[in-house]
């Protein structure tokens, strides 16, 4: 029915895409040049406050001391007046791995046991032990987020970051993400 009307087509003209191609190519090269193919992330921490108030006497306190590449210390403050979940499990873990008591606080010395391993392997082994302790403490103090990292002068930056990573998180689980950096005075 009156098909001839549909045949009233517009004149066929070629679309000139040259300018569009120019824009796209320029934009493309600009974006490729600007793009960074390395993924960056950040480890957050704060500087230590200069003084501690008397109100913080019965607060949870956890400090990891990086003495050198062969010695790490974990200091857990007094826990006798703190609310602890999984009390029995924590008590067992502390008895096995730490020295001290609930009133005075606990201390763990992590050293590399094997001498046959390379220095790098020994360091990784020590970080694993540190991670186990941090995880055990976190399971008993799930609401606590803060920990101190005390660092000796000879520790290299990569090791500081590795320790911070171990203290702050485990894949998707946050351990003690509020890390305060301190200088070791030893």
């Amino acid at each position: 029915m009156k098909r001839f009307k549909r045949k009233a087509l517009f004149p066929l003209t070629e679309v000139n895409v040259v300018s569009l191609m120019d824009i796209m190519t320029t934009l493309l090269f600009f974006l490729i040049l600007m793009a960074s193919w390395t993924h960056f992330s950040s480890m957050k921490s704060k500087a230590a406050a200069s003084a501690t108030s008397n109100n913080e006497k019965h607060k949870f306190s956890l400090a990891v001391v990086l003495v050198d590449r062969k010695n790490i210390e974990v200091h857990l403050g007094k826990i006798d007046k703190l609310e602890v979940t999984n009390t029995e499990a924590l008590a067992n873990y502390l008895a096995q791995n730490f020295s001290g008591n609930a009133k005075a606080g606990y201390k763990q010395k992590i050293t590399s046991a094997s001498t046959s391993q390379s220095e790098e392997e020994q360091w990784k082994e020590m970080l694993k032990k540190l991670h186990a302790s941090i995880k055990a403490i976190k399971s008993s103090f799930p609401t606590e987020d803060g920990a101190s990292l005390v660092i000796a002068n000879n520790i290299i930056y990569q090791d500081i970051i590795s320790a911070m990573e171990v203290i702050s998180s485990e894949k998707t689980l946050a351990l003690f993400p509020d890390i305060t950096l301190q200088e070791s005075l030893k």
Partner: protein
Amino acid sequence: MISLRRKSSVKLEPLPLNITSLMDVLTVLLFFLIRFFTVNPMTLSIPKDIALPKASVNQQIIEALVISLSKNELRIQGHLVVTLEGGSFKKSDLAPNGVIIPKVQTYLASEIDKRKNILEDNEHPTNPAIKELPPGKVIIQVDKDLTFDTIKRLLHTATKAGHGDFQFLVTTIQQ
């Protein structure tokens, strides 16, 4: 000469160039890159002499003042502030206490002043909270082989100048 003229008179027929597939590729690539930039809005330029430490964390970086510390120099926002010798600060660049780097402190303090000025101009000029602002954020790029003996001087100085909220930049390892 005659032979050359004959050759030049040969007419080539114009061939239609089909750029449809090329356009498709370019468009897809363009959208991919635009998407990439939307996810990573912050672009950071890492100095060539800094090898960042590696970590498997995935925390977003918040835009802040960038301090770069390599074995040879310390830069703030790309401006050279202090040069180092053998991965340590020169004694002449340190304050008598051996901890603070005065040039860095001055630079960072001026940044805090700028921040305060903006707040004073735009908000309540007599707001006492301006005097007690939270510590300023800084993105710290440090070479992975530097020791804490060097880094601590930068951290002390930054804290003293009011920038005590650190974001240590790391290269993410995909696990």
